[in-house]
């Protein structure tokens, strides 16, 4: 473990108000990731894994504890600074791809660049490149409803990658896909990881989790190391 540290969570706790009481979602989570790692967080629904992902992705902040992302302490940042970190460092992939239905594949991929203020020509070029990278260069001008589930998810991956983020955060990326398409997406993830991309994937599916190089388990908000997974 001599590689550069990518992020470190120290004693992270997260409480959510649930009526009168405070639900304790994350309990003293400690997690450290190095650049270039491929980690999957395995846990059943309600285990707090989505909350963990939100904190990693700077969509949410911890109630207590420390989260340092590439040397930056996240707790102290304002909403705007968090948005800038999301824009520059993090690529999200959601379960249902979450493409905007009224925009073409290309425009969907351009979306993060629009908020980052990238000029139209460069946006177009980079979106085109990314769609080519995920094997959809012939679907650039299709709308989401003209694409299959797997293709939609690949557009979403292209969208996550277009801003050249340091980390890819995927929440159940194969949840809405059939097995075959799911395997294709996983193959793409492994390829991206081999290219040096740091990936954190959240899933409840043991088989999918096994595609990662390292697996941690989360149950009832408590994180346990699952050891090195097989290098697929």
């Amino acid at each position: 473990m001599s590689d550069a540290e990518f992020f470190r969570m120290t004693d992270v706790n997260k409480f959510y108000p649930m009526g009168e009481e405070q639900a304790h979602i994350l309990k003293n989570v400690n997690l450290r990731i190095e650049a270039g790692e491929y980690l999957s967080v395995l846990g059943p629904s309600g285990s707090g894994k989505s909350t963990l992902m939100n904190i990693i992705g700077c969509l949410d902040t911890a109630t207590s504890g420390k989260y340092v992302l590439e040397g930056q302490e996240i707790e102290e940042l304002t909403e705007v600074e968090l948005a800038q970190i999301r824009s520059g460092k993090i690529g999200f992939i959601f379960q249902n791809s979450q493409l905007l239905p009224r925009l073409t594949a290309q425009k969907n991929v351009e979306m993060p660049l629009i908020y980052a203020g990238v000029p139209p020509r460069e946006r177009k070029r980079r979106a085109g490149e990314m769609l080519e990278r995920v094997g959809l260069s012939d679907r650039i001008h299709h709308y989401p409803n003209q694409l299959s589930g797997g293709q939609q998810q690949r557009v979403a991956i292209a969208r996550a990658l277009v801003g050249n983020p340091s980390i890819l955060l995927a929440d159940e990326p194969t949840g809405a896909l059939d097995q075959k398409t799911g395997r294709q997406v996983m193959a793409l993830f492994q390829e991206l990881n081999r290219e040096g991309r740091t990936i954190v994937m959240i899933t409840h599916d043991m088989n999918i989790a096994a595609c990662a190089r390292r697996v941690v388990h989360i149950i009832d908000g408590e994180l346990t190391e699952g050891g090195e997974a097989k290098d697929a």
Binding site: G57, L59, F94, Q98
Partner: protein
């Protein structure tokens, strides 16, 4: 700065596609603004066209004239011929035409007519109103100086007393006195302002004759024709001065009315009425704004996931806010521009119907457009703010 411009430009095209994708709902939403702007534009344009027509007809009727009406004092009840000559001699005055009104029974042979309105005029009146006489001759200065018994009659009197006879050269009786008919009055001889004020007279006679019939030597109503280029205010002041002397500086002996003062009052009234109506119409704009606000709030709720997603993709709150603001602005502007077009069409039709001039008022268009822009921004503000403040976690959880 450039980055913001890039994003804002993109927001416009995204908003347009959102508006287009929900055509029916967008249409119903902008309907309030559309109706409001249409009403405001139509009202302002129509009223300004109407007042333009009104003031041009005022101008035709009485530009360069003053009307004086004398109530008199205990010592002096009106102006004598010498007084009038004195006024005519003023630099600002070109001429004076007195109006001496009386009502009387007129007859010829067995035919008669009672309570006919008769007006005494001078020769100068006919000089200024050269279309007043359709046939025959006008009243001459000699008629005036020697108070001859001649008269000009209008078509009504011709029809009633001179059926089948050419009246010119015939005699008729006014109050039992024989008069020689010398001319026929044109139908629209009443277009002068003094006639409008006193009602059009059926018979015109020399004013000196009319004074005698009234057993008076005083003129109490007359119109002053101003010299060319004379300022009506200044002339009015000069006449007042001169008449003050005639009435030995007694107060409240006469009033001088200029056409421009009447026109000013009229215009004041019209603009008051039009701003009142526009105020009422702008209630529709406010209602329209509430419609937009309601629609935008619904949209924000509907697009919760989209907002959360955009935030996850790195959108800063103000970027979300500006996007929704642009959408409500565009909605409102679409309604506003359509309202401008519709309002102009409507007022064009109204002006045609009323026969007044159709003048496109840029002020009204600017008002309509800027008002709808303001409505879009003001009523879009709260929904846009709500969208920008959505917690991305809650927004994403909805998916």
């Amino acid at each position: 700065m450039l980055k913001s411009l890039i994003m804002i430009k993109e927001c416009f095209s995204m908003s347009l596609s959102n508006i287009r994708s929900n055509k029916m709902r967008s249409f119903l939403t902008v309907l309030g603004i559309l109706i409001g702007v249409t009403a405001v534009i139509a009202l302002i344009t129509t009223v300004s066209g109407f007042s333009g027509t009104l003031s041009s007809s005022f101008l035709r009727m009485g530009a360069g004239t003053l009307t004086v009406s004398v109530s008199g004092s205990d010592l002096k009840s009106g102006l004598t011929a010498e007084d009038l000559a004195g006024l005519t001699a003023l630099d600002e005055v070109e001429g004076v035409t007195p109006t001496v009104s009386l009502r009387s029974r007129v007859s010829r042979g067995g035919e008669y007519k009672t309570n006919v309105s008769i007006s005494g005029k001078n020769a100068y009146y006919f000089y200024r109103n050269d279309t007043a006489v359709s046939r025959g001759r006008a009243i001459h200065p000699t008629d005036e100086s020697s108070s001859t018994f001649v008269c000009l009659i209008n078509q009504d009197i011709v029809n009633e007393l001179f059926f089948g006879v050419d009246p010119i050269g015939e005699n008729m009786y006014i109050d039992g006195i024989p008069f020689l008919v010398v001319g026929i009055l044109a139908d629209d001889a009443g277009e002068s302002i003094s006639n409008i004020m006193s009602g059009s007279a059926a018979i015109l006679i020399p004013y000196t004759t009319a004074l005698k019939m009234n057993n008076s030597s005083d003129v109490t109503n007359f119109t002053v024709y101003l010299a060319e280029g004379a300022d009506s205010e200044a002339a009015s002041a000069r006449i007042e001065e001169a008449m003050d002397v005639m009435f030995s500086f007694e107060d409240d002996c006469f009033t001088i009315t200029s056409m421009s003062s009447i026109e000013d009052t009229m215009n004041d009234m019209l603009s008051m009425v039009s701003s009142l109506l526009a105020g009422i119409a702008s209630i529709a704009l406010v209602v329209g704004g509430i419609g937009i606000m309601n629609m935008m709030l619904t949209t924000v709720t509907e697009r919760t996931v989209e907002i959360g997603l955009k935030k996850a993709l790195g959108a800063i709150p103000w970027q979300i806010q500006i996007q929704f603001l642009i959408e409500s602005f565009l909605l409102s502007m679409i309604g506003g521009l359509a309202g401008v077009v519709l309002g102009l069409i409507l007022s064009f039709i109204l002006c045609q119907v009323m026969g007044s001039a159709f003048v496109i008022s840029t002020g009204a268009i600017l008002l309509g457009v800027s008002f709808s822009a303001a409505v879009g921004i003001i009523f879009g503000w709260a929904p846009a703010r709500k969208a920008s403040r959505l917690n991305p976690i809650d927004a994403l959880r909805a998916m």
